[in-house]
């Protein structure tokens, strides 16, 4: 498992290639990348991501280990940034490798659902200079129930 919580940008393309190359005994690799949308509301200046050092790594490691076991993954990668991000920057990525595509897809979706609502990150947007905390969405909370 490769897990990183970091403020620095990451090289999505190189990491995705390396991840796939490292797991050629698996038939299927899925990646997900989250990007700070550059058109939302027009005037987004910056997004600040706060996190809970220690608990963040602990929570992500737990979800990743669970996913690896449940979907029989060859490997799993999770990178999540914190700090100030500009529109167009990548926030995070996950990658999953499995023998069969359904497993790779489901595991990636599970990881996204859990990162969204159970990993201790909080987003604050500055729109035309005005700060506002991003609210959790009820549908993101609801999405978790499909993994019970």
């Amino acid at each position: 498992m490769q897990i990183s919580v970091q403020s620095d940008p990451f090289d999505f393309g190189a990491l995705a290639q390396e991840f796939a190359d490292g797991h050629t005994h698996m038939g299927a690799v899925v990646t997900f990348t989250g990007i700070v949308r550059d058109d939302d509301l027009g005037g987004l200046d910056v997004m600040e991501i706060e996190h809970y050092p220690g608990m963040t790594e602990r929570a992500i490691t737990k979800f990743a280990a669970y996913a690896k076991d449940r979907w029989d993954l060859g490997d799993v990668l999770v990178i999540h940034r914190h700090g100030a991000l500009k529109p167009g920057e990548m926030i995070m990525m996950v990658a999953t490798a499995a023998r069969h595509r359904v497993n790779a897809f489901e595991a990636a979706e599970y990881l996204m659902d859990y990162l969204k609502s159970r990993a201790p990150f909080w987003k604050k947007e500055y729109v035309n200079g005005e700060p506002r905390w991003v609210n959790a969405k009820p549908e993101d909370e609801d999405a978790l129930s499909r993994w019970d």
Binding site: G34, E50, Y52, G54, M55, R58, A59, H80, I91, M92, M112, L115, K116, S117, R118, A119, P120, F121, W122, K123, K124, W133, V134, N135, A136, E141
Partner: protein, 82 residues
């Protein structure tokens, strides 16, 4: 002695990220009651528990969880990762 951590708008409303408290509370809920009684800022920050989440020693728990052995209690809004 328990370390309290506050994140996001909980941190902003209380005005600090971290503090240490002596408490006789046996559950998170009792601890919240003590904090609410302390100061208007806490009363505001903890006015609606449904909009808050709590972790003991970095594991999410319910508000009626016991504080037995807790070293670090963190309060924060629902998470928005991903």
């Amino acid at each position: 002695m328990i370390t309290l951590l506050y994140f996001a708008w909980v941190r902003e409303r209380i005005g600090l990220p971290k503090e240490t408290v002596e408490t006789t509370a046996t559950t998170v809920k009792e601890l919240v009651e003590e904090l609410r009684a302390r100061d208007e800022r806490y009363a505001v920050a903890f006015s609606d528990l449904a909009s808050l989440r709590v972790a003991i020693d970095q594991d999410l728990v319910d508000f009626d969880a016991p504080l037995t052995g807790a070293k670090e209690v963190a309060f924060f809004p629902p998470m928005t990762g991903g």
